[in-house]
């Protein structure tokens, strides 16, 4: 479904992503983990066209999409959420998802209909599915941090992606918010049969939902495989997992 071959990105002389190979199968939930600065976000930006790779290829369903502009990538069924919350803060929650829905339906150039009369049901339904229906009329920027992250997920889902890339979907959330959000993501991935690639620092979360894990360190993938294999990998334990809690949080 999503394949990455020999992907590299240098900033000046610094190799932030270095010769990364990755494959995520349809319907799979895959995680990329690694310490701060390992290159996870950069890898995501290379896949979604926000950054141009120095070398390597990105394939979506066998189709080469290397370096294609982000707005075109979106149309190919690749959605994304950002590590730093990326919403439309002064619009209402409803307008945020409505905008994404309208853009996805090709209504963007329509300059004569009234936007607030279009996609109403779909927008409400989408908000309900991510648990934001009560906040529909609120200004997005005034939501709690956790809710803003959920909204970002909603915006990504509005484009009806087949593959969803989530960059630290629970960053900055409290334990209970994290728990809810992960349950939400898992449910949505199942309902929509999404292929999911995410990064996350909370190892309990990663090992509880990921089918496959790739571990990055200094721009390279140093291990990948199913959770048990990654957990047992000596190099991974040394550079990253160390004493990080790996069991589910009690």
């Amino acid at each position: 479904m999503l394949e990455v071959h020999g992907l590299s990105k240098s900033f000046g002389g610094f190799r932030a992503v270095s010769d990364v190979d990755l494959a995520v199968a349809e319907g799979e939930i895959a995680a990329v983990i690694g310490p701060n600065g390992a290159g996870k976000s950069t890898l995501f930006s290379l896949i979604t066209g926000h950054l141009q790779p120095t070398a390597g290829r990105v394939l979506v369903n066998g189709r080469d999409v290397t370096g294609v502009a982000p707005y075109k990538i979106c149309g190919m069924g690749l959605g994304r959420s950002f590590q730093h919350t990326n919403i439309f803060p002064k619009l209402t929650v409803l307008e945020n998802v409505r905008a994404a829905l309208l853009a996805h339906r090709g209504q963007g150039p329509n300059f004569w209909s009234r936007a607030n009369q279009l996609c109403h049901g779909e927008a409400e339904a989408l908000l309900a599915s991510i648990g934001l229906a009560p906040q529909a009329r609120a200004t997005a920027g005034t939501l709690s941090y956790g809710n803003q992250k959920q909204l970002e997920l909603g915006i990504a889902l509005a484009s009806d992606p087949k593959i969803l890339l989530l960059d630290e979907p629970t960053a900055g959330m409290s334990a209970s918010e994290t728990h809810e959000t992960i349950a939400l993501i898992e449910r949505i991935a199942r309902e929509r049969r999404l292929t999911l690639l995410f990064t996350e620092h909370d190892m309990a979360v990663v090992f509880s939902i990921a089918h496959r894990i790739a571990v990055m360190h200094q721009g390279r993938v140093i291990a990948h495989g199913d959770p048990a294999a990654v957990r047992a990998d000596a190099q991974v334990r040394r550079v990253y997992l160390g004493d990080a809690p790996m069991g589910p949080r009690s």
Partner: protein, 333 residues
């Protein structure tokens, strides 16, 4: 229940129509000078509104918006004076000419962001100014195009009341019709899906691209539409001013329209209109009192912006909101 439906009701009123009808009475209830001022305000309001399509809606700061105002006034002035083309053709031609100008310049401008975008718009407007100032054969150079004729308004004479007005007042009525139709169109555009896309670009261009928008193309479209409406304002202004001159295209006019827009408030549809009215009236009042008017005007503007950081309309809506909350609390207590 009452409190919920009141703002909805306010929103339902076709305000453009209300303002149109109110402004239409000026030739009858006011002096000839009032009509003169009202014409200037109406045209400035459209100009400021067109700028706000960039500034407030799309988040693009253009320092060179006067270029499209200028192209519009020259196209209309030249067509009507030199070629005796009727207004009904010269006006759309001015809008199209300005929009084309905006398309060519905007193509380059939207490739840059933030301050570089602003500087490039300014540079292009100075190029237009230089052309208008130097191209004697077509633009009249520093002499401009004096004595642009009024449109043929004979059709008004058959309409009761309108027929008795002087030509300058009849032109005011025409101006009002054109301006209000333009404002209605702009309002419609802002409320459309296209308008919503522009606001997402203002809010977060990176995210806007991620929902599938070709940000540059949308920005260029906004630039072209804004340019077209600025051209309509320019065309009207050339006739109102009885001539088109190169200072119509000079950068201080870009600054002036920017001040109007920000003063009125870029976050509200009516902000630019209120800003235009305020600046035109302030200008009139102060010039008649003191020769130091630029200084006084500057001070007043600074004070206004300190008191109302969101512009006059922004300040008023915040104030109303505060009042409503206060009275609401008292009512529920």
């Amino acid at each position: 229940m009452m409190k919920k439906s009141a703002p909805a009701l306010v929103r339902r009123i076709p305000w453009v129509l209300v303002v149109f009808v109110a402004a239409l009475t000026i030739p009858w209830v006011g002096s000839r000078y009032d009509t003169f001022l009202a014409t200037q305000i109406a045209i400035s309001a459209l100009f400021a509104m067109s700028l706000n399509l960039l500034l407030g809606t799309t988040g693009l700061v253009s320092f060179g918006h006067v270029a499209y105002f200028g192209i519009g006034s020259y196209v209309c002035g030249i067509l009507m004076k030199t070629y005796a083309v009727p207004f009904s053709i010269a006006l759309p031609a001015a809008a199209i000419g300005s929009a084309l100008g905006a398309l060519v310049f905007g193509f380059f401008c939207v490739r840059l962001t933030k301050i570089y975008f602003a500087m490039l718009t300014l540079a292009f407007s100075q190029i237009i100014w230089a052309i208008c100032y130097k191209w004697n054969d077509v633009t009249g150079g520093d002499q401009g195009i004096p004595d642009v004729p009024y449109p043929n308004l004979d059709w008004m004479s058959s309409i009761p009341l309108l027929g008795d007005l002087r030509i300058a007042q009849q032109f005011y009525v025409l101006t009002l019709i054109v301006v209000m139709l333009s404002l209605a169109a702009i309002q419609r555009i802002i409320a459309s899906p296209f308008g919503l896309m522009l606001t997402t670009i203002r809010e977060n261009p990176e995210r806007a691209a991620s929902i599938g928008l070709n940000v540059r193309r949308y920005e260029l479209s906004a630039f072209v539409i804004a340019g077209g409406f600025a051209g309509i304002a320019g065309a009207l202004f050339g006739i109102f001013n009885r001539g088109v001159f190169s200072d119509f295209v000079y950068w201080p006019k870009s600054a002036e329209v920017m001040i109007m827009t920000i003063l009125g408030g870029i976050d509200h549809f009516w902000g630019p209109v209120v800003g235009a009215a305020t600046l035109v009236l302030l200008n009139q009042e102060i010039t008649s009192y003191t020769q130091y008017w630029p200084f006084v005007l500057g001070t007043i503007l600074l004070l206004l912006l300190f008191v109302f950081p969101g512009g006059i309309v922004g300040g008023l809506t915040t104030g109303l909101e505060w009042l409503r909350r206060k009275t609401g609390r008292r009512a529920s207590a």
